[in-house]
């Protein structure tokens, strides 16, 4: 390196001084323990197949399974999960048939598509800007009317099943 000078005060140390903690460890945002495990992000851990696919890393192992990648899931189960729609054993063959049909449709559009720009709407989309006004709650929310249709309500909130187990 060329001759240089300067000063770099670590952010962690600044925070530690500001808070007056005894140890800098108290303010580390992403602490690792002695076995190099990160309690916050769970790293190191295995990655999901979808994450590898997103990064284009799926075919690196050829036919051999990539260490760490989750087992390949059935497509129908994957779609059921991402769209959060379960199905029963009576519906399964019908949905499988529908997915086969979808794959055939995909083949057909791939074969027939040219290099046109995709058209998502048959009319020109106009950017609409609302007139300036004082922001206010919807009258339906103010009067609590929006809760009338809810399957479960607690006070002024929609009640759902527990999010944390």
């Amino acid at each position: 390196a060329p001759p240089h000078g300067g000063i770099a005060l670590g952010m962690d140390r600044v925070v530690s001084r500001v808070l007056g903690t005894d140890s800098i460890r108290e303010v580390i945002a992403f602490p690792k323990n002695r076995s190099a495990y990160c309690p916050l992000t769970d790293a190191p851990s295995t990655v999901a197949r979808e994450q590898l696919a997103e990064l284009g890393l799926l075919d690196l192992g050829g036919d051999a399974p990539i260490p760490g990648a989750g087992e390949k899931r059935e497509m129908i189960d994957h779609l059921s999960w991402v769209s959060r729609i379960a199905f029963d054993s009576k519906e399964k063959p019908l949905i499988e048939a529908a997915l086969d049909e979808a794959a055939r449709l995909a083949d057909r559009v791939r074969e027939k598509a040219g290099d046109e720009e995709p058209l998502y709407a048959v009319v020109d989309v106009v950017n609409r800007v609302r007139e300036d006004a004082t922001p206010r709650q919807s009258p339906l929310a103010e009067k609590g009317e929006i809760f009338k249709n809810a399957p479960a309500v607690k006070g002024n909130f929609f009640k759902v099943a527990s999010i944390l187990e």
Binding site: A98, V109, L119, R128, N149
Partner: protein, 399 residues
């Protein structure tokens, strides 16, 4: 107050005034069109016990014009296809002068054809969709069904037009729906598409050809035209439609409204189970098809949209040579009211998909393509915003 045809009947139907454009006109709606205080379940468990809190813009305009809203009719799940839909019967059995039917793939046209009625599926984008619960936003619109075209025009005149609260509306000049004899004469040349005839069975084609002579007798000139890719309307509609449906149905989570499955252990299970019970067949299969294109094969969705661009252009080109296209409305061997799978639904609506994919107006005319036993209906597809011209051309045809 449920009945056979209606899922809800207004106990005391009334008109807001005597001077409105629709004063005294009885209108039937589907239960996916929001009327404040009416049960609005859209034929689906996904909206079980849902009561609309606000009026749809269309409903507000109908009331303002003095129309009498008599009730909402039984409909297919979320308006996909016509299985279980009895909306047109409300008109044919005299309960209403005009009924509105959500049109995503030609439902208003086909329902009218089955009941021997007139229907107009208007140009996409001229009617506010605020308060309309639908599945395929880039295609759906309100279709109007009535005994005669003179009942459709005034309704369209009232409900069409810019709505400041519907941000998806384009800036279109709204056509003038005041019918007069002279206007209809702008439609002179009507195309018959070779590729469309190829899709028909022999007896369907024979019925269609015999009906075409009625067009010539009424003074229209017929022109054989070709549109090589006519068969692709179905493919494009299904790919784009299923993706939009899967996306639109995402809001049915059983949290703010709709059906909630009991005894879910956690949040995710609540979604999975509630949505499993919310959708029936064929809607559920359709949503899975959409999910396939969204999550497994997005290129296919984009490809379908590329083809859609080409099909819209091909239609525009065709309309530089002709004023309208004649197509039968429905098929004899593929009854829409009995279509219970996605494939059967698309088989039944094969002939009305072109207008949906391109957003063009289409008119269903009864009594022209009939052998006395079966009326396939005549469908006239016109240029964008030519809706009133179609109506008066249809009236001229039946005069």
């Amino acid at each position: 107050m449920p009945s056979d045809i209606f899922s809800y009947r207004e106990p005391s139907p009334s008109s807001r005034g005597k001077d409105g454009a629709l004063s005294g006109m009885k209108m039937a709606l589907q239960p996916n069109m929001s009327v404040r205080g009416w049960p609005t379940e859209a034929g689906s468990m996904a909206l079980r016990r849902f009561v609309a809190l606000e009026n749809a813009t269309v409903v507000e305009r109908l009331k303002e014009a003095g129309a009498i809203l008599v009730g909402s009719t039984r409909m297919s799940e979320l308006g996909f296809g016509l299985a279980g839909d009895l909306t047109a019967s409300a008109v044919s059995e005299g309960h209403a002068d005009c009924a509105l039917i959500t049109d995503t793939m030609g439902e208003s046209l086909v329902a009218a054809s089955i009941a021997g009625l007139w229907a107009l599926k208007p140009t996409y984008g001229i009617i506010s969709r605020l308060g309309l619960i639908g599945l395929v936003p880039s295609m759906e619109c309100y279709g109007a069904v009535a005994m005669k075209p003179q009942d459709i025009a005034p309704v369209m005149k009232v409900i069409a037009g810019r709505d400041e609260n519907d941000f998806s509306m384009p800036d279109l000049a709204i056509p003038d729906f005041r019918l007069d004899g002279k206007k209809g004469n702008t439609i002179k040349t009507i195309a018959v598409l070779k590729e469309c005839l190829d899709l028909l069975s022999d007896d369907e084609a024979a019925l269609f050809r015999s009906g075409l002579s009625r067009l010539e007798q009424a003074g229209f000139s017929l022109q054989e035209e070709s549109m090589e890719e006519f068969g692709l309307f179905r493919t494009v509609h299904q790919v784009v439609g299923s993706v939009e449906a899967s996306s639109s149905a995402g809001k049915y989570d059983g949290v703010r409204y709709g059906h909630r499955a009991s005894a879910a252990k956690n949040w995710n299970e609540m979604y999975l189970k509630s949505r499993a019970e919310s959708f029936g067949m064929p809607v559920k299969a359709y949503l899975f098809q959409g999910a396939y294109f969204q999550f497994e094969n997005f290129d296919a969705f984009e490809d379908a949209c590329r083809i859609r661009a080409r099909l819209v252009k091909a239609m525009d080109d065709l309309f530089t040579r002709v004023d309208a296209i004649a197509i039968p409305t429905r098929r004899k061997k593929h009854p829409a009211e009995k279509a219970l799978s996605v494939t059967q639904v698309y088989d039944a609506f094969l002939l009305t998909l072109a207008a949906s994919v391109t957003g063009l107006p289409a008119l269903q005319v009864p009594g022209v393509m009939s052998d006395g036993d079966f009326d396939s209906g005549l469908q006239l597809v016109g240029r964008r915003l030519s809706d009133p011209h179609l109506l008066s051309a249809g009236a001229r045809l039946r005069r």
